[in-house]
Symmetry: D3
Subunit: 154 residues, 6 copies
């Protein structure tokens, strides 16, 4: 019985959304000072780029960590159908109902939680999820690996 | 007196905007059928990429068609301050006041008209303007060269 | 009655194919000398990038040259279903039945002819087609605009 | 005697290959179901992008982890001459002789093993090798760091 | 006797050079005002990207406009060996001996003249040369097509 | 009191510099042999791409690890004003005064040390700094994470 190599596989997807940076815990003046043009009440938007990385052993028969067809279906259900061609602040419950600011840091955390749940719901091992990266623009990029500030998460 | 080479210079800029595709000349049902997810009333958004191309003779003393510092100032005044971190349908008069649909075709025409005007306003030869290209996503791109369907423009 | 702006719209798609450069008009020795490693009889392959550019007047009601949904369907039927995840020399009749060498020059000509036909077949004006660009690698790119060596084509 | 900084250096190369996803451990029906269009018996192909990352101390005299000229020669001998402009399933012994499926997971493992061997063969410290990344397309990427499912490898 | 399609083929190459923008026709104060940080006497540098486009009929036997192996050799001899890992102002006669400012406009004109000559010197039809594009940075790009301000060149 | 997610945020910047690879610890012959064309005494240059990655807890009120406006100001002061449009060997004290070879390995170490200092000087937690990546060309990339060869640094 031989050891199997462990490989990281990454799928890249894109989505286009409107949003506004505004914190309900801050005054209007503080919001304007901190978020500046991103606080525009009429919203602006981005072509976000999402990278979902799984880490797992390569199956000896198929040569795959996970079938890309399955991973694409998971990402579609967990992230794209909620965020693509949407207004994040108005239409996505995770942000709207909890008054979370739609920074790309938080978009990455949302994608992590949603993909982990969807993997489990579709019968896959949720511990395969290794990293979420979200690029807001070509110059600004954010990564979440399930860590929290008092320990390593999930 | 020697001939000067004619060179095309292109400056690339980016802007991030929210918008919605909706035509006031069409019924709601037609808007939904034609524009589909882009007709979402809560808007979505893009990181647009703008390419402004001038065509002109190279100045023998400076080796330049136009100083890039000047071109960047023109683009900032003509396009970026109006579109970047804005909602195109709500905040840009050229679209809002004339009920123009904010397709990228029309964004390119707006950029052409606005840059041509600004070049003239800042004392430059407006006939230097050769081409506007606007990328809406990495897969969809639009070019305007001042042509109209009954002749070549300006 | 006002003039409509004429805009160039470009859709980018990708396809992954195997092929071999081999000319039936040349000897084996000539094939090896001219095509070198590209003449490998076991084939090699590429991720081709296809850019389809239409040129047309912007519709005043929709703000579009052509609906991207329609253009994507045309490209799928005319090019992608024939070339994507295929061996060009073995599976594509335009190359196989006419013993055409599968250079990217010829891939671009094939895409032009096939898209022009498909536009007409689906009821669109085939004269909208302006340019086909096919990138074979990040360093080698080929463009066809319907021109032939004794005049301007189609 | 001062401490030297440890730096990760990455060299990017490309290669163009044909392949087919087909497992000899699975029935034809299973192969078709799992690999779908990638199971096409006539093969398809890709422009693969390879990233080889070394991790090592910076030499105080040269300011280098390893001379890029040497690393390029190692990659050429270990990977490019075997895979570039080749049919992976037919021409590469590591795949053909062991009936390994030519998934990009396995291409990354092959590149790791081959580069580690070649580093040693050319007199370099094989423990410099830190990571292999292979992009199959712009959307699908795979990383191998020598790990196996019952421990950290090599 | 059938018509042959005319195709544009483009080869992309890169080179890394040092340079300074300084005009001997201008005073030091004017140089500083016009070129600003680019006038730094200690020089700065760029990774230039060069695109060489030929336009010609596709050969019926080979399916090629020109063999890429030949085009690469022409570009190496005409441009890369003169500019790559060089100081343009100090080491390239076309600039140094004629006191031409090393703007990217002029780099494009130099590349055009040098490639046209080299094509002829190696026995190719120099009228194949259609366009030179040089990108100075990801945001600034320059194109020369052999035009001069009192007519269309060569 | 809830746990906060830990996110990695990366800012991308570019700078254009001249440099020469030359070690004062080596003979001229050794310099020529090791650095080859990079040893050209007239210098060459690059468009470097810098990626600065911070790792920290997301602030619950703002949704941010650090305000990008602040991070951009830190990078400007610590790196860009020293390196952009400069000759690294001649104008940057960290290299010139210590006779350090201007390899990209060392550029990354310089950027790490300078950004760590500037973060502290501007009142930010210097332990936020997680990784510096510098791309010298599109094919050669270098990462420093503060590690040294006898332990994990800073």
């Amino acid at each position: 019985m031989s050891k199997q190599p462990i490989v990281y596989m990454t799928r890249r997807e894109t989505f286009s959304s409107a949003h506004r940076l505004h914190s309900f815990e801050l005054s209007d003046a503080e919001n304007q000072r901190i978020f500046a043009k991103c606080n525009n009440p009429h919203s602006h938007g981005h072509n976000y780029v999402l990278y979902v990385t799984l880490r797992g052993a390569v199956n000896a028969a198929t040569g795959m960590v996970m079938n890309l067809v399955d991973l694409k279906r998971v990402i579609q259900a967990a992230v794209l159908q909620h965020l693509d061609h949407r207004n994040i602040d108005v239409e996505v419950a995770w942000f709207r109902d909890h008054q979370r600011v739609s920074t790309t840091e938080n978009v990455a955390v949302f994608a992590w939680e949603s993909i982990a749940s969807e993997l489990a719901a579709q019968g896959f091992d949720q511990s395969l999820l290794h990293e979420i990266r979200v690029d807001e623009t070509e110059n600004n990029s954010f990564v979440f690996r399930g860590e929290t500030d008092v320990g390593i998460g999930h």
